[in-house]
């Protein structure tokens, strides 16, 4: 059974600071996704990581994937208030079930002035 663990689950940071969210998963996968959810809203796809060493960047967010370590990171650079949201990583199992995703519990990020 695929397990996905995120940490931290809660993150309060000041504007301008840097921080990293970690996503560990338990079985082989070559598909990892990061989603963002604003309070009371739906989930929005941020990044798709498809291979070992993949790195994607969008604005102040950068995501990377290490399939050998079964680890993905979401790095926040010089945080701004608009980044406050819940961030989820989701992993697709390799093989025939790759149309199903297993989500982590999410990281609630609060960026304070």
């Amino acid at each position: 059974e695929l397990k996905v663990e995120q940490n931290p689950l809660f993150l309060s940071m000041q504007e301008g600071k840097n921080y990293t969210i970690y996503c560990n998963y338990s079985t082989t996968s070559d598909r990892l996704y990061w989603y963002r959810q604003d309070p009371g809203k739906s989930l929005e796809s941020l990044f798709v990581l498809l291979s070992n060493g993949a790195v994607k960047q969008e604005g102040r967010l950068m995501a990377s994937l290490d399939t050998k370590a079964r680890l993905s990171t979401l790095h926040i650079t010089a945080a701004v208030h608009d980044l406050s949201a819940t961030y989820f990583c989701a992993v697709a199992e390799s093989g025939g079930s790759n149309y199903k995703l297993t989500f982590g519990k999410g990281t609630l990020l609060t960026v304070n002035p």
């Binding site: 598909r31 809203k41 739906s42 989930l43 796809s45 798709v48 498809l50 989701a90 149309y99 519990k105």
Partner: protein, 118 residues
């Protein structure tokens, strides 16, 4: 282009009542999913469908039934609601793409349905 539309957006039920949540997508996606989201639990897969006329159980299927009679619609039913089913329900859909497309597994989510069972 509406994407994934869920109805209703909010609902309050009494224990034992039944209801159906509707998910409609206009993107011609093959795969559709129902999740529930509870505080501190992330999203958990209830049921999913890989095509019209097919359904399969996910991680937490008990107490729910689903149907996919038309490709664009995926219905989630609660036959006898219980307070433990108080949650936010999300529907998602995904295209059936082949090859190495980066979008192969991106799921597109609806706005959610907030359900309270008293």
């Amino acid at each position: 282009n509406a994407g994934v539309t869920q109805t209703p957006k909010f609902r309050v039920l009494k224990t034992g009542q039944s209801m159906t949540l509707l998910c409609a997508q206009d993107m011609n996606h093959e795969y559709m999913y129902w999740y529930r989201q509870d505080p501190g639990m992330g999203l958990r897969l209830i049921h999913y469908s890989v095509g019209e006329g097919t359904t399969a159980k996910g991680e937490v299927p008990d107490g729910y039934n689903v149907s996919r009679l038309k490709k664009q619609n995926f219905l989630l039913g609660l036959e006898s609601a219980a307070p433990s089913q108080t949650s936010v329900y999300f529907c998602a859909s995904k295209p059936q793409l082949t090859g190495t497309s980066e979008a192969k597994n991106i799921q597109y989510f609806g706005a959610g349905t907030r359900l309270s069972v008293l």
